[in-house]
Each structure stands twice: as C-alpha cells, then as structure tokens.
Amino acid sequence: MLRVVGSDPALGVHLRAWCRGAGHVFSDEPAESYQIARGLAEQQRWTGAERAGGAAPTDIVRRPPAHWGLAARGALVEAGGPGPSFDLDDRDVVWADLAPRLYAHAAAAQWDPATAVDWGAGTDLPDDIETAVVQVMTYLVENEQAAMVIPARLLARVHPHFREVQQLLAVQAADEARHLEVFTRRALSTGRPMGTSSAGGRESLNTLLMEPDFSLASFLLSVLGEGSFLSLLGFLDEHAPDPVTRQVTRLARVDEARHVAFGVAHLEHQAALDPTLKGRLRAAVERRHDSLTDTAGLNADVFDALIILAAGSWEPEAIRRGHAAVRALHDAMDEGRRQRLTRLGFPADEAAELSALHTRNFM
C-alpha cells in the first residue's frame, strides 16, 4: 500500500484516473491523502519473460526464437509480441567467431572520401589513357553496386541476435557506398561520359544477386569475387597512371581485404560444422559457371582498358607488356582463389578446377 500526499489541487483527480488505467486500486481515504494498492498487471506482464541469450558474443544461442525479434541481445524479453521473419536465424549458418573483431576493425578503418583522397592531384593524362581509366572506373562502379546490394539484402534477413554479423554486413555495404562514390568521382573528374556496361558483365553479377543462400552468396561474392578483386585493385594500384586513381583503388583494396577475411572466416567456421558444405560450394560454382556459359564474360572494353593502363601507350612493345601484365593478373587472381579454396579444405586439384570455373567477369 502506498500513501500519496501532494499539493497539486488536481492530484486526487489525476491519481484516480492514472490508477484506473494502470490497474492499481485507488482510495481517497484517509483524509488529506490517497492510498494506492498495487495491481497485479505489471508483474503479470513479465510472467514468462526470458533473457534473449547473453549480451556477450560468447553467449549467443544457436537458434534465437523469432519473437526475440529486434530485442537487444541479453535483454529481458516480454512473452508474446510479434515474430518478425528473420530467416537467417541459425548460428551455424551466419556466425563467425571473427565477426566481432572484424567489425571493430572495420568501424575503426572508415575513411572519408572527401579527405582521404587528394582530389586536387593531377589527372591530366593522354586521351586514350584517361578513356581507359574511365572505362575501368565504370566497371568498378557496376561491380561495387552488386557488392553493396548483396550484403544489404543478407543483413535484412539475419536475426538481430547475431548483431555483430549484421554490423559487419552494414559496414560492408557502407564500404561499398564509399567505393561507389570515389570510383564515380574519379570517372567523371575530367568531364568525360561514363564508359560501357556489357550485358555479359551484368549477367554475371545478376547470378550473385539471385543466390538466396547466405553461405553460398558469401562464398561467391566475398571469397571468389571480392577475392579476385583484391588482385584487380592491386593491379590498378601498380599501374595507375595518376595519383587519384592509385589512391581510390588502394583505399578500396584495404576494405575488400576485410570483406574477404569475413567470408573466409565464416565459411571456415561453417565447414567445420557441416561436412556437406564443400559439396554445396562446389555445386554453386558449377551452377553459376553453367548459367554463364553462353555469356560474353568480361566486357571487352574493360579488358582493353586494363591492357592500355598497364602498357601506358599504344606502342606495340608497350601493348605486349600490357597484355602480359593482364595475363599475370589473371594468374594472380587464380592463385588467390586456389589458396582461399584450399583454406576452406578443398584439395589442391579440386581448388584449381573450381578456380578455373570462376566467372570471367572477375566478380
């Protein structure tokens, strides 16, 4: 029983109304004060409440129930309420122990496109070279679009219990947003129109968008696609004809390395739990390869642009060097893919075979 006294003339009027709404019992006796007997409703509301796992990443549960929904991990969750559909709700499918650390690293490594790049540095290049830069940037933008949309889609399906995975995917999408910005800005910096976009390139990326399985999407995008892009961005860093191109590709490469690390860590985690995973990964590569068999692969304009960038001119000798450099790029991409496949437990011969089936569009 709670006795209430106060000086507001409307205290009794309001207290009576408030008690009624809150399920408490109001009494205006004894004189000059009021008494409240506590109702049961508040205690009843928390009947059957449960903790949504533990707050620490080490205390996650394997299958968080749908009704935990958006509740903070570790919160005391009232029973009932909506059960939003987060279909990626299995720890063994989405989790990687490395996720919290990778997220922290990603959050600390965010850079500001306005200041991280010296936009005033010269981009005064021969016409053909600049055209090649614009074409490569156009291609990168297209690929980064896919790389932004895919984690964003997956993020919306991950149960919030696996917060660090969501955070990591969110930062990954934000990384790609910055990449889109800097690549576009570099492409347009000399006033030329954007380059070309081939149907085959978009077809290749579309097969990534269509992959609904979290692990397979992560495998195709991060491990194989972005893994190959690490080599491509390294190549562009090495052969960049101007400081701005070098800076934007270098900045992007650091971010992409993190994306690849999460993809590999996640799949390593899963491969240890699921002996069927490797078979499914293999099938995904083969399926994608088959669906792209009749497409043109890498946009020929992109291929030419890469050669020109590595050559530096149209002199035959330079073109020969440029072509050799692009061949070496292909080899480097293949080598990287094979290493990562081996890390996931594929024998060397199978890794080589699967790497060879990867899309000719790189991503």
């Binding site: 009027v13 009576r16 408030w18 009843q44």
Partner: protein, 286 residues
Amino acid sequence: MPGTTLLMGAVAYDPKVVTIWEGFRHYLAGKGLPFDFVLYSHYERQVEDLVDGRLDAAWNSPLAWLRAQRLAAARGRTVRSAVMRDTDQDLTSVVVVRADSAYAGLGDLQGQVMGVGAVDSPQATLIPLSHLRAAGIRPDEDVVVHRFDVGVGLHGDHIGGERDAARALVAGEVEAACMIDGNHLLFSQEGTLPAGATRVLAQTEPYDHCNMTLVDTAPTDLAEEFVELLLAMSYADPQVRPLLDLEGLKVWRPGRDIGYTALDRAVTQTGFYDERGGLTAKEYIP
C-alpha cells in the same frame, strides 16, 4: 445462426474496434465458443436489436445500458450487466475552469458559458449537468450550455467533443468545461490543456461506464461460457495481453448495476429516454 453462435453487438466508434473484436472472436473460437459480432454505427439501433433478440449480447455504453433496461422492462424481458472492464468502474467527471479565473464554486458560474461534450455523452454532458442541478444550478437557465457535438450517437465514446470543450476553455470561448477525470489527465499530458492553466472546480461522485449486456433470450449455456471465458482472461497470458491492452483493461470484473444511478437520474431529468426506453431526447439525431 441464432442459438448456435453467441452474437454480440459493438459500436464502431473507431477503426480499432474491428481489430479488438476480431481478436476476441479468434480467441473465443480457440477456446471452443462459437462467437460472432455485428458492428453498429451508433448505440440506439444496437440496443433495439439486443432487446428484440437479434443479438445475444451487446458491448454497451452506460447510456445504452440504461436504455436496454428500460426497453427490456417495457417488453417483459430482462437484461443484465454480465461483465465490465476494471476501467469501467468508479469513474468521475470534473468541471474545469481556467486557473486564473475567480470561480470558487459551481455557484459562481451563474450566467457564464459552460462547454460540454456531445448531447449523448454521459461523462461530459449528462452526468456533469445533473451534478450542476444537484448544486442548484439550472443548465440553459442559470448557465449557458455550449455543446460540442462530435460523434453524436456514440454516447461520448468519441473523445472529440471533450477535447473541443477543453480547447474552447483555453481559448476563452467558454468559462468552464466538463470532461471525464482521465481526459483531464490526458489533455494536461498532451498539452491541450497547458500545464498549470486549468484547475478542477468540481468533481462528481464515482460512477460506472460500459458493460457487456446480456439479454434473457440469449442461449444460456453459450452466454455463461462467454462470461466465464472473459472473466478467465489473464493479463499474464501473452496471447491475451494485447487484446486487453487494445480494449483498455487489465482484468474483466463481474458486471454490476450499482454505478448507473447518477446517469439514470440525468436521463430522467432531461427526458433523454422515456420510461419505456423511447428515444425522446431533444436535438439528438444519432
């Protein structure tokens, strides 16, 4: 189908009424009670259908309950208040004035304009005006009554009339305004009545509000089961809690009819209904 389904009437004073009774229908069906509901646009037709036996039960306003009693008695039928919400018991209405006014009691409102709710609002019109009469002040003679007719036919379920009266008080268009105690709290919290701008001049005795009225033509077994299932609803049940929250209660209480004396007096004083439940109120077109 009469006799095989318990059919209840409710007035659709707000779109949420559909959500509420759909929820109850689903819940009651899950408990094995064949239950359905019919929505009305105002209380008068609902009460007539109840007493005519077209409904078994009606979620009635206090005014509708009184009319149901009168209509039923005139036809040799009986109705009973079967269950009510905890929030339907022991309400009061208040007469509110601006804090800086000189009025010290109801008698000081002589010759002034008083804002009330809709013509058929128990809490913001009928009961407060009856309270004035008890204090010796004749509405429309000693005070000018300014009615804010919003949602006529909904028996005051629509909050609009009370809110308009409160706004008129703040704007200086009326010298006093009548409302239910909970709405004085609500209007103060939401800022319709600025903090400290008003004070309570008078408060009525406690009275009761809505109830679930059952008519004696309702199938006895279904009616009893209906009442038992409602009374058994627990706020501790996570499936039930959202329904109770929507309908604004923590627990159903057994119905009672002792809390309608003040309104019954007001109905008789104003001739709102005649003794047989006939609709005789002036300027009332639901």
